[in-house]
Structures are given as C-alpha cells and as structure tokens.
Symmetry: C2
Subunit: 188 residues, 2 copies
DNA sequence: TTGAGCATGTAACACGTTACATGATTTC
DNA sequence: GAAATCATGTAACGTGTTACATGCTCAA
C-alpha cells in the first residue's frame, strides 16, 4: 500500500495541506516515481484520517480541508521506511516489448528502439527543467537518480541498435540466427 | 493491458506451450520486467483464446492444454509493438521512500541507503547467474539493460551516502538544513 | 505407495484508471 | 458575468495479489 504512505509522507512534510495541494505535489514531484490520480489521493486521505494517521485541522473556503499528520501517523511513516522492505522496481513496458522484437522485421525493431531513444532524450530535457526548481536535499537526490537512469537507458538503446546493425551488416551468417530469441524448452 | 500481450508474445515464441509452461517462462525470463502470477497467466490465456488470438491446439496428460498463436494473434502482437506507445516505467517504491528520508534521523536514512546498496549488489549476483543461460538475442539485450540499470543504482546509492556524510561532517552549517527537503508551497 | 511436480481453475480483496458529477471563489 | 481555477467526491471497470481448491502422473 505504497500510495497511502506516499500521501502520509507528503502530509508529514506539508502540514495544513489539502487533497488538492497534495495532488499538485504528486504531479510536480512524485510523477516520475509514484504517480497518483485525484481519486486515489482523496480516497487515501480519507482512509488515513479514518485510521488516525492524519487529521483534519482546519477548513477553508470552497470546502477545503486542511490536514496534518498525527503522532501515530509519523510513527507509521517511520515504521514503513525502516521496518519494511520496498519491492524492487519492476514492470517496464518498453523493456517487455524488447523481448518480442524478434517477431518483427529488422527495420521495425530498429524503428521501435529509435523511438525509445527519442523518448529518453525528451525525458532528459523535461527532467532538466524540473531540476532547476528542486532545491537541495532528498528531492534533488532522487532527481539525480532519474537523470542517471535516463542516461543509461539512452546509452543502452544506442548499444542495442549497434548490435542489430552489426548482426545485419557484419561478417557472415543469416541475421535472424543471431538476434531471434531461441532457447530450449522442456515440456510435459 | 500489457499482461495479455506478454502472454501472447510468449505463446508466439513457444508454440505448443501450456499455461504451466508460460508461468515458468515468466519466472525465468520476465520476472525482472513483467512479473505475473499463476491466476493472471491462466486468465489471460483464456481471454486470448476467447478473442481468437491464441487457440488450443492439443491436449496432453493431466488436463494439459497446449496453445499456439493464430494469424490474428500475431497481427495483434505486431500492432501492439509498432502502433502503441509503451508507458514510461514508473513506480519505484525504494525511490519513493527516498523522498521521505528527511523525516528520519540521519543514521536511519543512511541505514536505509546502505540496505539498498546491498539489495542492488545481491540483484547483480543473481543477474549474472541468469546471464549465463540467456543465449544471444533480445533476451540477452534486456539482461544487459538490467545489468547497466543495477550498476547505476549501486553507484547512485554510494553517491547519495557520500552526500549525506559530506553534509554531516563537512564544512559548516546545521546538517538538516541541507538535506531536509524543503520547498515553497502556495496554498488556498 | 507416497511425495514431488504437473496442471488447471475460482474467489475475495486491494489497487489503479477513467469518467462523471457538482459547486464555490477569484480574476479579468 | 464569464472563465479559470479551486475543491471535493463517487461510480464503474480493469488489473494484480493472495489464497483456496482440486486432481493427475511419474519416479523413487
């Protein structure tokens, strides 16, 4: 239930924030790490309040509700970080497709990877813009991670494209023999 | 709906496979990219069959059902890769926690990052073992990506730990001023 | 004959996404 | 007064996770 802890963590840093404020924070700062929708934020806030981890400390105009973390909420946040292990990052759709590029013609596989290179390039530009508003501290640290991760992705795509080109135009052999995935399967 | 396409892609590469075979393939090859549970694999296979993208081509002992991709299924697989854009990878729980390390004491924050360094190290060992069974081709390419991504993560964790140490023991200033996240918030 | 591994499926619940629905306040 | 923005919530649907439930077959 990471989403609830993300909401809890933001409330802990931003006493007096509303669901609306949180949503903006998710978009501005957590978009690359843990995106959330409006529904999720409001529902999460309601459940955290029901569990006593946050409380509504004020009401503003337009039905605005301002929240703050409780002692129990702060303990829960610390417990989550120090006493539970995060799941390793998984589910990368663009990498999943790489597994199946062998079903495509070489030109299509290359086109896919070239598009991915452009995507990485574009993401790096957007990240640079974000970087200037980030200040120091842990937020900056995570941006630095994303920067390095994107650089690696771009380098890897370029490497992968070279591999395909080498297989196609390099010395000898049918191209598909090399980069069509094949492996032994035992059945029954 | 990437899961269904992952199942479809595996059936396309492995004609005559059963749900049980697919599950093993998910664990062996796609675990780091798109993990799937037994329920999902069987449900996905059933839906793909209902949609005419795969068909049951044989039945074996113990109720075993062997599937193969249809022409429509192969078209759908190619369409998915070439005509739809993958969502960028998101949701990294271990990175999410980094945002909230400012709520912990310095020693706890360091302990968290040190643990993450160990996790990355361990993952690299496991990946090396996998690498030897991978053969060439696109599977090998995605393993190469994971290898590079893990290396970056380990380097980044070490960098982050140095940042904290520098702030704590370096020249001047209250430590928390530097790495406690703070930023301007506009409200109401 | 017994246990490991093959083999399939369902049910309940949590989470995530999209769309719908409504209304107040400020700014131009 | 119209438009932008603030502000909250619900409903429907699809996906993902965990646990349950069952039975066959082969090898030791």
């Amino acid at each position: 239930m990471s989403l609830r802890h993300a909401v809890l963590g933001l409330v802990a840093e931003l006493p007096g924030c509303s669901g609306y404020d949180l949503l903006k924070q998710f978009d501005a700062r957590l978009a690359g790490v843990w995106p959330a929708t409006q529904s999720q934020v409001y529902a999460g806030l309601a459940r955290l309040a029901a569990d006593g981890f946050v409380e509504c400390v004020a009401e503003g105009p337009r039905g605005r509700k301002e929240y703050a973390v409780t002692d129990a909420g702060m303990r829960e946040l610390r417990r989550w970080i120090t006493e539970t292990r995060p799941r390793p990052a998984r589910r990368d759709e663009s990498l999943l497709r790489v597994f199946f590029l062998g079903r495509l013609e070489p030109g299509q596989a290359k086109a896919y990877l070239e598009d991915q290179a452009r995507v990485a390039e574009q993401a790096m530009v957007e990240l640079s813009a974000l970087d200037e508003t980030a200040g120091r501290g842990f937020w900056r640290m995570s941006i630095e991670y994303e920067r390095r991760a994107l650089a690696v992705r771009r380098e890897w795509v370029e490497w992968a494209l070279r591999q395909i080109s080498d297989d196609l135009h390099g010395p000898g052999g049918s191209p598909t023999d090399k980069w069509l995935t094949s492996w032994p399967v035992r059945r029954g």
